[in-house]
């Protein structure tokens, strides 16, 4: 039996190998099965594997597909990658950027500098191809396996059918050697925006389709353009109704052209036609190779909920956004970050399975926030009707003359992690300031005397004492809770965690979100906050 690749492979990372499961008399049961070998599936497998669970990941391909797709990775993503042991390679390979320019026709309307704050291990943004992002995750999985993790990735294993039951899901798999069955106690579907698992379960994926097409091209050239994000509205070179130029590693540049709705895809994808557009943009004097190109339409949609019994959805299979703002991969990677520790505690019996309801609650809120931002950017870029075009053009005209109009120009609002304001499982907030590290928000990195704060957080709950002493390890609710005492308070740490307080105690979740904070250490209060955070104190039925 042959299995045709749906796309060409850039790196073969996990070639098909026959598994013992294929010769077993009865389907073998696996505690956790991840479907999909993209960045989200691999991060899920890696996170749960590092927590000690055997994980089986199934990918219908044998590695990473060509075409870079996601290119911009934000600080929160890099922090997560660091925790997973893949961050250093990403930082070494990625291109750090912070400046951008916005043009209208041939006029530069304004330039911006995101002025990244000091005192963080990771930069605000890097550009890196999805190919490398994924490759580094696979390498981190190999390192984890060398250090006792049990993560297996099976290439050319395609899920053809599932039969979800209360405690386990039967999974039918095709391989080049024929088909076989396994059972999964938990199945996590990270199988992309067109999720076959979602279709197999007959689940909806509703939202908006934007009536526009974008040509994305990765071009290889040695050019001395600045490492900045350049964005044109109605560019003078007429290659599209908007255009983007952004640098990636290895002399690759991402170029986007907005083509409109009524186009002939096949014709537009012909090399000579792509080259015409690129030549117009670059002035025809630059030598380059076309590395990859594709035409996209954009959608903003999500599933009604992400947890369906013991089948859970994460990443693009659960929610999809337009790319303006880099909110696809960057929000997707926060799904396993949120999910892994909850599933870990449920699998160990330390928390009720109902804790996973908070995965739904928190990541649905995040998906809605991302969809709202991404929808607004797309509405600005592709005005739907005459009056909205007039308003958009008025903003662009005014922005060139007056500073006040610049915040209205929207070519993408860059991904920031969601703050789970007013959701259950957080609190109390006994010190109120600083606002950025309040309960519901992700912990902010800060420089310490010997490294960075986030690097000190382990895989479990951590209590941090700023200017007050905390027991270095204790057992609360059956959980190992680490303690971190920080005596030397840097100015950044004071600004980010203490404000005017002399001391502060923070309880941090395994996904580095702040659960609660107090002025002083009180074990009873911490235990109560942990019970709430792991769904043991759920007051609602």
């Amino acid at each position: 039996m042959t299995m045709q690749d749906r796309y060409p492979i850039a790196f073969q990372l996990y070639p098909y190998q026959r598994s013992a499961d294929q010769d077993a008399k009865a389907p073998v049961t696996h505690p956790v099965v991840v479907v999909g070998g993209g960045p989200i599936g691999l991060a899920t497998a890696l996170d749960l594997g590092l927590k000690g669970h055997p994980v089986l990941a199934l990918d219908d391909h044998e590695g990473v597909g060509q075409g870079s797709r996601a290119i911009c990775f934000v600080r929160r993503t890099l922090e997560i990658a660091h925790r997973l042991g893949a961050g250093a390679e990403m930082l070494a390979k990625g291109i750090v950027w912070q400046k951008g320019r916005v043009f209208h026709d041939s006029d530069e309307i304004f330039e911006f500098d995101l002025l990244p704050e000091d005192g963080h291990r990771c930069p605000a943004f890097i550009n890196l191809s999805q190919i490398h992002f994924k490759k580094f995750l696979v390498e981190a999985i190999e390192r984890a396996n060398a250090d006792c993790a049990k993560i297996e990735i099976r290439g050319k294993n395609r899920v053809d059918a599932i039969d979800p039951g209360k405690d386990e899901t039967v999974v039918d798999i095709s391989t080049p050697d024929g088909s076989y069955q396994i059972k999964a106690n938990w199945l996590i579907a990270c199988d992309g925006a067109r999720s076959p698992i979602r279709d197999m379960m007959g689940l909806g994926f509703d939202g908006r389709v934007f009536e526009d097409n974008f040509l994305m091209a990765d071009v290889k050239m040695t050019a001395d353009f600045l490492t900045e994000r350049w964005f044109w509205f109605e560019p003078w070179f007429k290659s599209g109704s908007s255009a983007l130029l952004h640098k990636q590693p290895d002399d690759i540049w991402r170029i986007d052209f907005q083509l409109g709705w009524d186009i002939d895809r096949e014709k537009e994808l012909k090399e000579e036609n792509v080259r015409n557009r690129v030549d117009q943009m670059l002035g025809g004097k630059v030598e380059y190779e076309l590395d990859w190109c594709s035409i996209y339409t954009f959608q903003c949609r999500r599933m009604e909920k992400f947890c369906h019994g013991r089948v859970l959805f994460a990443g693009d299979s659960a929610h999809q956004v337009s790319p303006f703002g880099a909110r696809g991969a960057n929000s997707g990677i926060q799904d396993p970050e949120n999910l892994a520790w909850k599933l870990d505690l449920a699998l160990r019996g330390h928390a009720p399975e109902t804790l996973l309801h908070s995965y739904d609650e928190e990541r649905l809120a995040a998906a809605d926030e991302n969809i709202l931002n991404s929808t607004r950017s797309t509405d600005f870029l592709t005005p739907k009707f005459e009056a909205s075009k007039k308003l958009r053009d008025a903003v662009l005209t005014l922005a060139a003359r007056h500073r006040f109009a610049r915040p209205l120009v929207n070519s993408g609002r860059l991904s920031v992690p969601c703050v789970y304001d007013s959701l259950s499982g957080f609190g109390p907030d006994a010190i109120v300031t600083p606002k950025r590290t309040r309960p519901d928000a992700p912990a902010t990195d800060a420089p310490l005397a010997d490294g960075y704060l986030l690097d000190k957080l382990g895989g479990g709950f951590t209590v941090i004492g700023f200017g007050t002493s905390i027991p270095s390890a204790q057992n609360i609710e059956g959980l190992h809770v680490a303690g971190l005492t920080i005596d030397e308070i840097s100015p950044e740490t004071r600004e980010r965690y203490l404000g005017d307080e002399a001391s502060a105690v923070y309880l941090i979740r395994p996904d580095q979100y702040v659960v609660a904070r107090w002025a002083e250490y009180d074990k009873g209060k911490i235990a109560s906050a942990i019970r709430q955070a792991i769904g043991k104190d759920n007051k609602c039925p």
Binding site: N373, D379, S388, L391, L398, H402, F404, L408, N410
Partner: protein, 60 residues
């Protein structure tokens, strides 16, 4: 007092969306009429003739 031409909108993206929503479903003439009414509502809020004169200039 001079006209504030620095960013002052508390939620620029939210306002922009509210403006688009207000125009949704209107034809070109109705949109122009809506904008005219909106100008008078906002001008009344400003009130000051000197500021209004500067605003007229800034929009030219």
């Amino acid at each position: 007092m001079s006209l504030n031409l620095d960013p002052n909108l508390v939620d620029p993206d939210g306002f922009y969306q509210a403006l688009l929503d207000a125009h949704e479903g209107l034809d070109a003439a109705q949109s122009a009429e809506f904008n005219a009414r909106l100008i008078f509502v906002l001008a009344n809020q400003i009130g000051d003739p000197e500021l209004l004169a500067q605003a007229l200039e800034a929009a030219k």
